[in-house]
């Protein structure tokens, strides 16, 4: 069964550093998403991406965040100048035309 692949599985970074979280969506999916889940809390939407542009973003997705699909296969989330409160599990998801959403296993980001 096709999978969404996320790397790395765990990243520790110093406060103020930039991080890039990587995702390889399912190849024939056209819609891509990033979500985050702070430990013990609900899954929160960050951003959706379609046709090489952001289609919707949440209030969380401020200027420190950006997304990119640099090469037609990868889908990245960049966090500039990380803060302690950015520590969370970040999930990438992709969707087919039939509303089949597939999530990756997540990247656990720890900001110290």
């Amino acid at each position: 069964e096709p999978e969404v692949t996320q790397t790395p599985s765990h990243q520790v970074t110093q406060m103020g550093q930039e991080v890039i979280l990587r995702c390889v969506p399912i190849s024939n999916h056209l819609y891509f998403y990033w979500y985050r889940q702070i430990l013990g809390q609900k899954v929160e939407f960050l951003v959706s991406f379609y046709n090489n542009e952001i289609s919707e973003k949440s209030e969380i997705f401020d200027d420190q965040f950006s997304v990119e699909r640099p090469d037609g296969s990868n889908f990245t989330l960049k966090i500039r100048s990380t803060k302690l409160e950015d520590s969370a599990m970040y999930f990438c998801a992709s969707r087919d035309a039939g509303y089949g959403y597939t999530f990756g296993s997540g990247t656990r980001l720890t900001v110290v």
């Binding site: 819609y31 998403y33 979500y35 809390q41 609900k42 899954v43 929160e44 939407f45 959706s48 991406f49 379609y50 289609s55 919707e56 999930f91 998801a93 969707r95 039939g98 509303y99 089949g100 959403y101 597939t102 999530f103 990756g104 296993s105 997540g106």
Partner: protein
């Protein structure tokens, strides 16, 4: 904007007993509804989804859910649970320009022997 309410934060149940996890969503013209399961330290796995058609939806691992438009509910059920069903379950609705998923707060199902 849509919102999803999962009425129970935790549901303890004995093995082989039936279980119902409740989910209500805010009203909309049409909704697509989903249930996901998250095992400890893992990602989100789709259990089932409702897009249209029959209001009773069958999913993986013996789970099913019923879409009730009048009560704006999409409760998840299993007639007989196993220890291995211990996990957190999330109800979600698809909405918005990008058809994002909006998740409920989750229900932790604890199956006891």
């Amino acid at each position: 904007a849509q919102s999803v309410t999962q009425l129970d934060s935790q549901v303890p149940v004995f093995e082989e007993a039936p279980v119902e996890l409740r989910c209500n969503y805010s009203s909309s013209v049409s909704v697509y509804l989903f249930w996901y399961v998250q095992y400890p330290n893992q990602g989100l796995q789709l259990l089932l989804k409702y897009l249209s058609g029959s209001t009773l939806v069958k999913g993986i691992n013996g789970f099913e859910a019923e879409f009730n438009k009048s009560q704006t509910s999409f409760h998840l059920r299993k007639p007989s649970v196993h220890i291995s069903d211990t996990a957190e379950y999330f109800c979600a609705v698809s909405e918005g320009r990008g058809n994002k998923l909006v998740f409920g707060a989750g229900t932790i199902l604890r199956v006891k022997s």
